[in-house]
């Protein structure tokens, strides 16, 4: 190597950074033929795997299927959406501005800095507004007006009483039944919402709430994920976080084995019990990724290939040829 332009600066040879120029033999090699053979080999491989194993396609959960299978869980979730105690209602940014809810490492809290970007008001968006879309329901309209015009302290009394009672709720003859109590307008609201969900119209109301052509499933997905039905289905498929679910796929299909290190951090202290686990794991993985990218610059780490001597196996033909015919 000689200086082409700029100043030539002799440096000490570092075997983990530098190489000796190759002045040895070259052998014929057909790069295009190799590429074509590889294309065909991999094509046959994936065709074979597809014919034998196909691919998974588990049906999605809808608010309709959720309520059909577990209407009590739906009602238990819906009341927490109305009274603002659900996971989504207390999530904080980017959905709403709940104080103290953002994850942080010391002062570092990007979630908080970016603020509310996808606003979700669970009481309005998940309960009141969908119920208002139901036509020709004067009794329901009166109930909704009674709720929305009541002071917040009264609303809290009704919702707290209902939330306690709904844990003992049952579902029979197409209707939600809760023990008798003083719930005001909340009980008929929850019954109507449960029926709306079972009919399928709640799915539609949540999706097209802003426009006809909507491809943004933020609201129905947050709603469904707030209940336990989706999580229970996921648990049966070993997809939950504490089951290393990030690596797994439904059924017996291989999943995303390359995520092993990402999910591993969630299983070990302190991340496995930390409210800031997501930010902590993300920070660790960013750091490790930067290390991997910058490996060529890091003394010690970049010496591992030479120390491990695996290269002696990879290039054994070359080293044998250098020794000459006498040693073969």
């Amino acid at each position: 190597m000689s200086a082409a332009k700029g100043t030539a600066k002799p440096r000490r040879f570092n075997p983990d950074r530098d190489v000796e120029d190759w002045h040895g033999a070259y052998v014929p090699y057909d790069i295009l033929k190799e590429a074509l053979v590889a294309l065909l080999v991999v094509g046959v491989l994936i065709a074979g795997l597809s014919i034998i194993f196909s691919s998974p396609d588990e049906h999605p959960v809808t608010l309709k299927s959720w309520t059909a299978n577990d209407p009590v869980d739906f009602a238990q979730t819906a009341i927490t959406e109305l009274d603002g105690t659900s996971a989504v209602a207390t999530y904080g940014p980017p959905y709403n501005a709940t104080p103290g809810s953002s994850q942080s490492i010391g002062f570092f809290s990007p979630e908080k800095w970016f603020g509310v970007r996808h606003p979700v008001n669970t009481a309005q968006d998940f309960v009141i507004d969908p119920l208002r879309t139901l036509p020709n329901r004067p009794a329901l309209t009166a109930v909704l007006n009674r709720y929305t015009s009541a002071p917040s302290s009264q609303q809290a009394l009704w919702t707290a009483a209902y939330e306690k009672a709904v844990t003992k709720a049952s579902f029979a003859h197409g209707a939600l039944r809760v023990p008798a109590g003083r719930y005001g307008p909340v009980a008929p609201m929850m019954s109507a919402l449960t029926s709306m969900a079972r009919s399928g119209s709640l799915d539609g109301a949540l999706l097209s709430s802003s426009q006809f052509y909507d491809t943004n499933y933020t609201k129905p997905l947050l709603y469904i994920a707030d209940g336990t039905y989706l999580a229970n289905l996921a648990g049966q498929q070993h997809l939950q976080g504490n089951q290393w679910g990030m690596m797994n796929e439904t059924g017996s299909f291989p999943g995303q084995a390359w995520l092993w290190l990402y999910t591993l951090w969630y299983q070990v202290p302190p991340m496995n019990s930390s409210p800031n686990a997501d930010l902590q794991v993300w920070a660790i993985m960013m750091g490790l990724t930067v290390l991997l990218v910058c490996l060529p610059f890091i003394p010690g780490l970049r010496s591992i290939p030479r120390w491990s001597r695996v290269y002696r196996l990879i290039w054994r033909v070359h080293y044998r040829e250098l020794q000459g015919p006498a040693t073969t």
């Binding site: 040879f13 294309l39 979630e111």
Partner: protein, 233 residues
């Protein structure tokens, strides 16, 4: 211009001292990638191991991912749920992604143990690792685009990590339309561009030579002090 023979007349290209951007770019490109380096028909004799095929296996797997993805795009994102042919093409797409990561990780292991960043090949290593990371993102948006239970679970779980990092303000994993467009437009462009740079770097610098082992006959000139210039990239 000669009409009879069709051969080019004089002044069809700028002279060697041209200051034109086009002429200078062409000159630099041809200098960096002369045809025999871009499409070589020889390789160094030390390339005598099956580990060397994993780069091309990764590349052709990516080709199959893109090809099968194009077929899925022709028919739209719901086709594979309603058609057995669609399900088969979706399976080809899934298994080509599995093959892509399978071969890429083995390629990464091989390049690590060869310390393939040596000799000014750091950018080759860097583009390779970055492509790997971006590919994980591309696969992730693919899982989100399935429109089935898997997408629902993955999106509602992944949102927490992504929101915590602040990226959730823009990158809304619950927004199917956005995720699909990242998956079929933005991320493939980045992966293909980075892969292109990676392969060009391999062609530019050549395949990394072996470590020199004590006592072996030197493969280079007796003066074995390498000189690195300031403009090496």
């Amino acid at each position: 211009m000669s009409i009879e023979t069709g051969s080019p007349g004089p002044q069809t290209h700028a002279g060697p001292d041209s200051r034109q951007w086009t002429a200078r770019a062409r000159k630099a490109a041809v200098a960096a990638f002369p045809p025999e380096r871009l499409l070589p028909d020889r390789q160094p004799a030390y390339m005598a191991s099956w580990i060397y095929v994993f780069g091309i296996l990764t590349l052709v797997s990516l080709a199959w991912v893109i090809l099968t993805g194009c077929v899925l795009a022709i028919m739209g994102p719901t086709w594979w749920h309603m058609s057995t042919v669609g399900l088969f093409v979706n399976s080809l797409h899934l298994w080509s992604v599995e093959a892509f990561f399978f071969f890429m990780v083995i390629h990464l292991w091989g390049k690590f143990f060869m310390a393939a960043w040596r000799g000014n090949r750091r950018l080759t290593w860097i583009t390779g690792v970055v492509t790997f990371v971006i590919s994980v993102g591309a696969a992730f948006t693919g899982y989100l685009s399935q429109q089935n239970f898997d997408s629902q679970w993955i999106s509602t779980q992944a949102k927490d990590g992504i929101n915590a990092s602040g990226a959730g303000a823009i990158f809304n994993v619950l927004n199917f339309g956005q995720m699909l467009m990242w998956h079929i437009v933005l991320l493939p462009l980045v992966v293909v561009a980075l892969t292109g740079v990676h392969v060009l770097m391999v062609r530019r610098r050549g395949i990394v030579p072996p470590f020199v082992v004590e006592g072996d006959a030197a493969s280079s000139a007796p003066n074995s002090s390498p000189v690195e210039t300031e403009d090496d990239s």
